[in-house]
């Protein structure tokens, strides 16, 4: 139990170093930390959940075999996401398939799935998934993983300015999709409103 708690406080990069030194349990911890995150990052790239899970499994396997090449100077998350996205691209290239429909409403769903979808409709990630896979992935990396633009550009294999534009468009489109109409919102006063955005 204490061991588990101790592992929880270790950074990803330290865990990766331990895996490189032969610790299998450290890799298990990395899987626990990242499998779900990778799943939600990649789920709209594939037609079925099974395909997504297979790709995640392949990603971890590749990461395990190449852990000696990981440099702890970089972030482990960036490295792992890069592996995942490259494997996804190479899989689509090899199979010569197009990626699955991003909008779940355009694919045939079971009644059970429809119920789940309705329950999830309040979740902002569900809403973000309807923006398009590029915008969704940019949002996931930026808000979900708290990644800087530079790392996002590396993972998505794009220029930083392209990533900024993607994020900007995603925010604008998300604003349009919000249930609550923004235009009807009234702010208390112009001066106080300007103070509100002092974070910017």
């Amino acid at each position: 139990m204490d061991n588990t708690r101790a592992v929880n406080h270790i950074s990803d990069e330290e865990l990766a170093s331990k895996v490189a030194a032969g610790s299998r349990s450290s890799f298990e911890e990395l899987i626990t930390r990242y499998s779900s995150r990778l799943y939600y990052f990649l789920r709209y790239r594939f037609k079925t959940d099974q395909d997504t899970e297979d790709l995640i499994q392949e990603t971890f396997l590749k990461a395990f075999h190449n852990i000696d090449r990981f440099s702890s100077e970089h972030k482990f998350s960036t490295w792992l996401y890069t592996i995942a996205i490259r494997l996804t691209i190479s899989r689509f290239r090899s199979e010569k398939k197009r990626s699955g429909p991003l909008d779940p409403s355009s694919s045939p769903l079971d009644p059970q799935d429809i119920v789940i979808q309705k329950q999830e409709s309040q979740n902002i990630w569900q809403m973000a998934s309807k923006l398009g896979k590029r915008q969704y992935e940019a949002l996931w990396l930026h808000y979900g993983e708290d990644m800087p633009i530079k790392d996002m550009a590396k993972i998505l294999n794009k220029k930083p300015i392209t990533v900024r534009v993607l994020l900007h468009r995603a925010r604008q489109n998300l604003g349009k999709r919000m249930d609550q109409p923004l235009a009807t919102r009234k702010l208390a006063g112009t001066t106080s409103a300007a103070h509100k955005f002092s974070f910017l």
Binding site: H65, D68, L182, F199, L200
Partner: protein, 186 residues
Amino acid sequence: MMRRSKMFCTLHKWKISQALDSGKPISSHVRKHLSKCDSCREYAELCTSLKPKFTQDKQAILQDFDDSLNKRIMASIPDKPEWGAEPGGRIRAKRSVRRPVLIPSLAAALTVLAISISILFIFPRSKKAPSLGQLSILFSAASPEDVLLKVESPLEKEYTELKRAFESTSKYLISSLDFRIGPQAK
């Protein structure tokens, strides 16, 4: 006027996004615009609300994640990685980086070399180069003037051929154009 203000809003919204991504404060003129424009103010408010909303909802979706996938992945992971680090042992040195640029460069260099060799050895030299027999005839001439004439003769031959070509061309041009000068001209 309406279009102009919309265009400015687009620019200001972009500035707001930039400020959000870079963590820098917005400029004073954007701030001034925010105090006047409802649309841009709403956009800025949306941007501030996104981060906590995304974080909160991420926790919600990750909690629902079934960990059977983790077990499946762990079962597929071998005891040792392919590069075979012993537990607690040293990590193998990094693999040497392949340089694929060298291969096409080498191929290009070899091609150029092969072409050069073929030019030098395979293709025969000019057929008009004097052979040993011709040289003996040249040196058997009676006087140096004769030798000079014999040496100059190819040049003279070329000159004659050029002259002939020029004459035939001029004749052809005259006959085809058919222009005349003087009282006979029509």
